[in-house]
Amino acid sequence: MPLLEVDNLTVEFATRRGSLRALDRVSFSIEKGEILGVVGESGAGKSLTGAAIVGLLESPGRIASGQIRLDGGRIDNLPPEPLRRIRGRRIGTIFQDPLTTLNPLYTIGRQLIETMQTHARMSDSDARRKAVGWLERVGIPAAAQRIDAYPHEFSGGQRQRVVIALALCAEPALVIADEPTTALDVSVQAQIITLLKDLTRDHGTSVMLVTHDMGVIAETADRVAVMYAGRIAEIGPVAEIIRNPAHPYTDGLMASIPSLEHRVDRLRQIDGAVPRLDAMPDGCRFHPRCPSAFARCTAQQPELMAAGATRAACWLHA
C-alpha cells in the first residue's frame, strides 16, 4: 500500500461570481521512501496540492471532493485537532522562505525541543540532546552552542537547514517540501538538496518535492508529476519524463529550459500563457497552446492514460 494516496482531489474557491476550481480531480500516490517531484509553472496548483494534503488550505479554498489517505486512513475529513497531531508527527513541511517558518522570538533550540515534545513524550534533557543531534546532522557548525541562538543570527542557507531539522525531528513518514531551495544561491542549493536526499534515504522518509526547477527534480526525484492549470498533465519515472515526455506540455517545458551543455540559436517556446481560473478553455486545458491539438482536444477533457512508460492526460495517446 502506498504511504500517501491522493484520489480525485478537487479544490474550489468560493467567490462572488461562483466557485473557481483550482485543482481538478488530481490523483497520485507516493510509496514509502520515494521522492515524488511535482513541477509546473506558477498557478498550476503545485503548492495548493501540498497545502490541501496538510490541511492548510486558506479560506475560501476548500476540498470540494476527493480523498487523501495516509497509510490507508483518510486525513482529508479530520477535525482540526487530530489533523494538527498528524501534521508535524506524521507529515513534516518545509516551505520556501525559512524566515517565515521560524519564529523570530524563540531560540531555534526551543523550537526544536517544543516540536519534539509535542509529538513524543521525552524529558527536557533528552529533547535538548536530540535537538543538538539534529542540528549536527543538518550541518550546523558548533551545534551545542548555536542551539541557543535566534533565527536572525543564522545565514539563509543555515536557516533552511534549521527548517529541515524542524521538519524531520519528529521523524515524520512524509515530508512536503515546497520550493525548499528557491530562495537560496546555487552553491547553497546544492548543499540543501544533498542533505534532503541523504536524510530521507537514511530514515526511509517519503518526500513530495514541489518546485519549478526541473534541474532540482532531475537530480532528486524518483518519479515526477507535471501539473498544468490545476490538473496533472503527466506522471511517471523521472528519466522518462525528461527524456521521453509523452505530453506536449511536458515536451515544450523541457525544450524551453536553456541548457548548460550546448547553446542553441532559439529556445523552443510555448506561445501564450497559462489560462486564468475563471477562463478555463473547454476540453484539454492545454489545447490553445498545444502544437499538436486536434478536434477532440477542444471538445473533450482527457484523463491520465498509459503513454509509453508514463501516464499522460493527452488524446494523442488514446
Binding site: S187, D213, M214, L253, I257, V264
Partner: protein
C-alpha cells in the same frame, strides 16, 4: 554620423562603496569608525558594440550594483565608466546620448506604473526625448514598438494589471526601446518568469539584438540563461570579477575554482539522479570580506599566499583569471 565605436560601454577600474555606518551619535558614543561595504571592487571590462556581455554571480556579488553604475544610477567611488569613449557623467548630460542607454528590470510587477495605460507608459520616453511630438506620430511609434515585442495597439489601451508576467516584461522592453537606445542594461530580466515564458522573452531579446544591433549588459544568477545569451562573460564573487573572457571558452574550460564550483553546483537535466559532494560554506559578508583572495575559505586549492595576497588578473589564452592557483599551475 559619428564614428563607429569599437566598445559601446567600458568600465575602467571601477569601485563602488556604500556607507553602512551606524548613525553619527552612536558612532560617537562607541568610538566606532565609519564602515563601508565594498559592493564593487576594481572591476574592468569592455562591451564590444552589438554584443552581449553577461555578469553572473550569487547574491551579494555586486552584479546589480554594476548594472546601476552602467546607466548612471550610481556614481562610481573610484574609476571611470565610459559610454562610447566618453565619461558616463558627460554622456548623460547630453539628451542625445542619454536616450541611447536604457534599463530593463527584474520585476515586471514593480517597474510599470499601475495607474498608467500601457500606451502612455511606452509613449513617455518618446515624449520626454521629443522623438515625436504630434499625437498621431506618437501613436504610430507606440504601435510599432508594441508590435516589435509581440503586442498590439489595442493592448495599449489596457492597464499593466491586465497582463501576465511575461506580457508585462514585453511592455518593459517596449518602453526601454522607445527612446531608440543602442545599449540596454538587463538586470535579471527573466528571473521572475516561468520557464516557458522565459524562453519567449530570451528569444525576443535575441531577435531584437540582431534586428536593431543592440548592445546588452546582461545580469543574471542563472548560468544556463547566461550561456544562451552571452558573447562574453564575467564571473563575479564578492565585488570582483574573478574570471572573464569569451563565454564559450569559459563554459568549456572554466579556470577559476569559483567558476568551476558554480558550474558544478547547478542541477542539470542531463544528470538524472546524480549524487555529489557539494562545496561547503557560504558567501561571506561583503562588509568584512576575507583577506587575500575572497574565495579562499571555500577553495580546495587555497594556500598561505591565497589567504594573504589578493590575486591579480592574469591572462590565460583570451581569458582573464584572478587566482594564484591558476597562475602557479596548481589548479589541475
Amino acid at each position: 554620423m559619428s564614428q563607429p565605436h569599437r566598445h559601446t560601454m567600458e568600465a575602467v577600474a571601477v569601485s563602488h562603496r556604500f556607507d553602512v555606518s551606524r548613525p553619527w551619535l552612536q558612532r560617537l558614543f562607541n568610538g566606532e569608525p565609519k564602515r563601508f561595504l565594498r559592493a564593487v571592487d576594481d572591476v574592468s571590462f569592455a562591451i564590444p558594440t552589438g554584443t552581449t556581455f553577461a555578469l553572473v554571480g550569487e547574491s551579494g556579488c555586486g552584479k546589480s550594483t554594476i548594472a546601476r553604475l552602467a546607466v548612471g544610477l550610481y556614481e562610481p567611488s573610484d574609476g571611470d565608466i565610459l559610454f562610447e569613449d566618453q565619461p558616463l557623467s558627460s554622456a548623460r548630460a547630453q539628451p542625445a546620448l542619454r536616450r541611447r542607454m536604457n534599463m530593463i528590470f527584474q520585476d515586471p510587477y514593480a517597474s510599470l506604473n499601475p495607474r498608467w495605460r500601457v500606451s502612455d507608459i511606452v509613449a513617455e520616453p518618446i515624449r520626454a526625448f521629443r522623438l515625436a511630438t504630434r499625437p498621431n506620430e506618437v501613436q504610430a511609434r507606440v504601435g510599432s514598438l508594441l508590435a516589435q515585442v509581440g503586442l498590439t495597439l489595442r493592448d495599449g489601451e489596457k492597464y499593466p494589471h491586465e497582463f501576465s508576467g511575461g506580457q508585462r516584461q514585453r511592455i518593459s522592453i517596449a518602453r526601454a526601446l522607445a527612446s531608440e537606445p543602442d545599449f540596454l542594461v538587463c538586470d535579471e530580466p527573466t528571473s521572475a518568469l516561468d520557464v516557458s515564458v522565459q524562453a519567449q522573452i530570451l528569444n525576443l531579446m535575441r531577435d531584437l539584438q540582431q534586428r536593431l544591433g543592440l548592445t546588452y549588459l546582461f545580469i543574471s544568477h542563472n548560468l544556463a540563461v547566461v550561456r544562451h545569451m552571452a558573447d562574453r562573460l564575467g564571473v563575479m564573487y564578492l565585488g570582483r570579477i574573478v574570471e572573464q573572457g569569451p563565454a564559450e571558452t569559459i563554459f568549456r574550460t572554466p579556470r577559476h575554482p569559483y567558476t568551476r564550483l558554480l558550474l558544478d553546483a547547478i542541477p542539470d537535466l542531463e544528470q538524472i539522479g546524480r549524487s555529489r559532494t557539494p562545496v561547503g560554506g557560504e558567501i561571506p559578508s561583503p562588509i568584512a570580506p576575507p583577506p587575500g583572495c575572497a574565495f579562499h575559505p571555500r577553495c580546495k586549492l587555497a594556500n598561505d599566499r591565497c589567504r594573504t595576497e589578493k590575486p591579480a588578473h592574469i591572462a590565460v589564452g583570451d581569458v582573464q583569471v584572478a587566482c594564484h592557483a591558476v597562475a602557479e599551475g596548481r589548479d589541475s
